[in-house]
């Protein structure tokens, strides 16, 4: 069986309004984050993938299947949507159990999986209460529980951290990490970039319905040639290091760290930069404690490629 999620030249128009345009993607297992401003097409992409909307052109397959073959497709896919609405009058328990029973499994199995899913999102105590009385965070959790209850191989999460308190966010992120490690496809759209950044294997940047970039964060960052990379170097004499790097004409910007024990340097050629830095360290001119990329994250990539105003640069 195919192990990737594939978008082949997919476009979606809502009447004359563009949803997404000519998106081609191949997403391997692991955690993939969809990044883009509001209205960029992230939810459309997820809805297209799960058949909630139909593509105007192009083809989509998830592990070789399409939503047309619903029983096979949705036994492998769980989708936690952004819609904060539920069937009228149901309790958390009933909501999960009903959805599991539709898989055709035995009731004992459905009950077992319901308990497991509720425990995973720590909603066991509130399971008997009507969802209408849940807080926003609890509603988010129960949607997540419903999406993971049947042990899907592909988990699609649209803004899954919305409404969660810091503790619940940390728990959810740990859960996503665990699922990613298990070899699942976890596709997340989120605007809380700092938090998803830590767990993402890949990012897909999208704005105005167009795919801007995709790949591992490091890969994408390296492709942004017009924005020199920023590196944080922890060392004893940051001013001296900065002057040496400028002297060999390899830095375009230097900024001291607030604690005075490091310097942020920007370079247009990161490989050459590392060679020079090694040379300086080898000569013993500056004792270097640590070197780390300072803008090699989803947030920086978002700023560089999309801009804080949401327009592609």
């Amino acid at each position: 069986m195919n192990d990737t999620i594939v978008f082949e030249d997919v476009s979606k128009f809502y009447g004359e309004v563009l949803g997404v345009n000519r998106i081609s993607l191949s997403i391997p297992p692991g955690i993939t984050t969809l990044v883009g401003p509001n209205g960029s097409g992230k939810t459309t992409l997820m809805n297209l993938m799960t058949g909630l909307v139909q593509p105007s052109s192009g083809r989509i397959s998830v592990l070789g299947l399409t939503p047309d073959s619903a029983p096979e497709f949705f036994s492998m896919v769980g989708y936690c949507t952004q819609f904060d609405f539920f069937p009228r009058g149901v309790t958390g328990w009933q909501f999960i159990l009903d959805s599991l029973m539709l898989h055709g499994m035995e009731e004992d199995m459905a009950v077992h999986l319901t308990i497991e899913a509720l425990e995973r999102v720590q909603l066991g105590d509130a399971a008997g209460r009507s969802i209408a009385g849940y807080s926003k965070g609890m509603r988010q959790k129960i949607r997540l529980a419903q999406a993971i209850a049947h042990h899907p191989r592909v988990l699609v999460l649209d803004e899954p951290l919305n409404g969660l308190d810091p503790m619940a966010r940390a728990e959810s992120i740990a859960l996503f990490q665990e699922l990613g490690r298990q070899g699942m496809h976890v596709l997340i759209s989120s605007h809380i970039l700092d938090e998803v950044d830590r767990i993402s294997d890949r990012v897909v940047l999208i704005t105005g319905g167009y795919l801007i970039a995709e790949g591992s964060i490091h890969q994408v960052r390296q492709e942004v040639h017009e924005k020199p990379m920023q590196v944080l170097i922890r060392c004893e004499h940051p001013e001296l290091l900065a002057s040496k790097m400028f002297a060999i004409n390899h830095c375009v910007e230097a900024r001291l760290h607030a604690d005075g024990k490091g310097v942020f340097l920007r370079t247009a050629d990161i490989d050459q930069f590392h060679t020079m830095l090694c040379g300086i360290a080898a000569k013993g001119l500056v004792k270097i404690d640590a070197v780390a990329p300072a803008d090699d994250d989803a947030n920086a990539i978002y700023q560089y490629l999309i801009g804080s105003d949401g327009s592609a640069s």
Binding site: Y14, N47, T50, G51, L52, V53, Q54, A70, P71, E72, F73, F74, S75, V77, Y79, T81, F83, F85, F86, P87, R88, G89, D98, S99, M101, L102, H103, G104, Q146
Partner: protein, 287 residues
Amino acid sequence: MQTNIANLGKNLAQQPWGLWWIQARRLTRIELRRNLFSWKASWIYFLAYIPTVIIAIHMLFERHPSFMIGEDTNVLAGIVQLYYIRLGVFFGCLGIFSRLIRGEMIERSLHFYLLSPVRREVLLLSKFAAGSISAVFLFCSAIVGDFALMYAGFGAAGRDYIFNGPGLGQMEAYLLIVVLACLGYGAIFLLLSMMFRNPTPAAMLVLGWEAINPVLPSLLQKLSVASYLRHLMPVSVSADGIFALLTVQTEPVSGWVATLGLLLLIAAVLTYSCYRVRTLEIRYTTD
């Protein structure tokens, strides 16, 4: 041709009928819970049982000499034809069936079903089954209640009319009519609810169509639920004035032809609904 038929047969045999059956049963159970046991359904209970309550009041406070059985039989026929078929079942089915898909789009909860491992056709037909069971349960129990109360006041004469006379046959005919009306209007309103954001104006057009249908050419009469039901009435209702339009006698058709004709109409509407549901998109912001 024979190869195509053989392939079709093979293809059908390979489908997971067992799984679909389990899913359909479970979906129907969930939908029945929502249809019958919610406060929002209370007005449909009112529509179904208001004649029963009125007949009960009459039974308690009026004397029923046996010579009035014929008159009350006509009253009951009028209640079925003019109230249940034209109003009660019509608006009850509008409430039940338009809620099944459109109601969930308004409540923004339909996506849970569309993201479940259930074929959309199975989903639609299960919802239709649940709506039909709800409507049939409500209106058939009301008809049985009406019938029992109508003749209970006559004592032994009433019992004789039911069990030794034409009473039981009439009740069976009324039940068949109500079942077919629920299925027919149910299929139409389910389809309308998928075609229009607000199916009520379209339903009013259907009501108008049903009213003028008896005076239309016979080909167009076939596109009406009431026209088929009219041929199944065990007692003809004579009406004056505006009600005459509702009870115009059309060319006679045998009972089984009318039943089969209506079932074919229902099957055609459901087939088209299945096609529509396959391409249904969730766009709550525009719905």
